[in-house]
Amino acid sequence: MENRLLEIKDLHVSYGSVCALWGVSLHVPEGSIVALVGANGAGKSTLLKTIAGMNRPKNGSILFSGKHITGLTPEAVVNAGIAMVPEGRKLFARLTVKENLELGGYIPRARPFIQKSLEQAYELFPLLKTKSNQIAGSMSGGEQQMLAIARSMMSRPTILMLDEPSLGLSPLVVKMMFELVEELNRKGMTILLVEQNIYQALKISHYAYVIKTGKIVLEGKGEQLLSDPEVQNAYLGTME
């Protein structure tokens, strides 16, 4: 059947005595956009952070191309081919755009190709090339989000995880951002997208999961969920 690039089985994560994820299972097929949607505090970011190696799961396993990556350090996860664009972008604000990009290619696997990746990134985001010597912290929100995505692309990942890429951006820029995600996917990138902007996320994704208080409550094709009355009532009712 389809190739399961990333597979998560029965994942439990807790912060101290507070349980954040209760047996989450999902999988991301190669070449697809999978969206993970849910309300604030449902556990979306926790899941991404656990995949990225920032949190240690209590139970369960994470498989990447069939290999266990559970409990690896963040550095090892990136090196394996999973890149993450964190919530709030987390750029190195005092470094220049170019330096931010170069550091994206810091891992051993990507380091020999830094020059090449840099050219590719500039090709994808011509704006970044013109601003390459600017301090990252001085750019606008949309530009920073672009840089954050470009930086994670520098590690030549197989899968890209985006945590709330539309947060704090103007509607026009949000639209551009989603177009960009689709474009990346057309170029062959597998994407795991976490969003609060549920309508947009479901529209572009091939498959989607709805997470609520640490559990997956619904799943299905993006458009299918979009028309699901339960989703409409619970999440989309408040959206435009």
Binding site: M54, P74, E75, P86, F92, R94, L95, L103, G137, S138
Partner: protein
């Protein structure tokens, strides 16, 4: 009251302040790397500087190696020592939220080094006496101390070296990135331990340079170093975190400040003035005098 003031005197005062301040600056750069990446209040820095001064003294008396020729040996040894200190003492502790732990390890290390030195070399003051000790270069009516000028040159060269390393090499950029946001750095694949080891190696390596500059200029005893830890901390706060050049400049500002206040007020008050300015800076511009505020993203 100040009828003896002349332009030459003021110029001399100014130069002395700068030459003296580079000493603080050197220590502050090392601290800015250690404090910047790991938020460790590394109080043992002064003790390490003195330890390096003793090493320099040893090389000089046992093997007759000129202090300035021992720069590569001591610099390298200090870097290895720095990496060792990190791996042995701080590796486990930096991960912990509680900053007191690293502070206390630094204090413990300070006790240990100071008293080990007192046992090994006796608490009597030591000094290096060479042909160029207390000689000075006359420049247009001013007398510039040779050893302090050398200290200044060494400080400038090592600042330039560290700046180049941090700006031009990928590892250096990683150190800067980690000192800004360690979590984001991990997400792009930068290993914190590697970066921290490098920061420590360079920071302690600079202590080695400072130790040489100190041993050629001053007599020293095992307890001589603590004041450097404090002053480096102040220089760092003046210059602002995250900038190597800022740290050096902070040291120079501090040195000039002390030299002027001890001339115009009195020697004893110099410390109070520098601490007072330090407090004022913390109150009104805690990010440092020289840092343009960059909005945190």
């Amino acid at each position: 009251m100040f009828d003896y003031l002349t332009f030459g005197l003021l110029a001399q005062l100014f130069i002395n302040g700068i030459l003296f301040g580079t000493m603080y600056g050197l220590a502050a750069i090392g601290l800015s790397l250690i404090f910047g990446t790991m938020r460790i209040i590394f109080l043992s820095q002064g003790a390490v500087i003195i330890l390096m001064a003793y090493c320099c003294y040893w090389l000089f008396t046992l093997f007759k190696i000129d202090p300035y020729l021992s720069i590569p040996i001591i610099g390298l040894a200090a870097m290895v020592l720095g990496a060792g200190i990190y791996q042995g003492l701080f590796r486990r502790a930096v991960k912990m939220e509680d900053k007191n732990i690293t502070l206390l390890i630094a204090v413990g290390l300070m006790f240990l080094i100071e008293n080990l030195m007192a046992v090994m070399w006796t608490p009597n003051p030591r000094s290096i006496s060479t042909g160029y000790t207390s000689s000075s270069i006359p420049v247009g009516g001013l007398a510039i101390s040779f050893t302090r000028l050398m200290g200044f040159v060494m400080a400038m060269l090592s600042t330039a070296g560290v700046t180049l390393f941090l700006k031009r090499t990928l590892v250096g950029k990683a150190v800067r990135a980690a000192s800004e946001d360690i979590e984001a750095a991990r997400l792009v694949g930068i290993s914190p331990h590697w970066v921290n080891t490098i920061a420590f190696a360079i920071g302690i390596g600079l202590c080695g340079i400072a130790g040489i500059a100190l041993s050629t200029t001053y007599p020293f005893d095992p307890y001589f170093g603590f004041i450097f830890s404090l002053k480096a901390m102040i220089a760092l706060a003046l210059g602002g975190l995250g900038s190597v050049f800022g740290a050096l400049l902070g040291g120079i500002i501090l040195g000039t400040l002390e030299s002027w206040s001890s001339f115009f007020i009195s020697g004893g008050w110099a410390d109070a003035v520098s601490y007072g300015v330090f407090l004022l800076v913390l109150l009104f511009k805690p990010e440092g005098l020289l840092v343009r505020s960059v909005k945190k993203v």
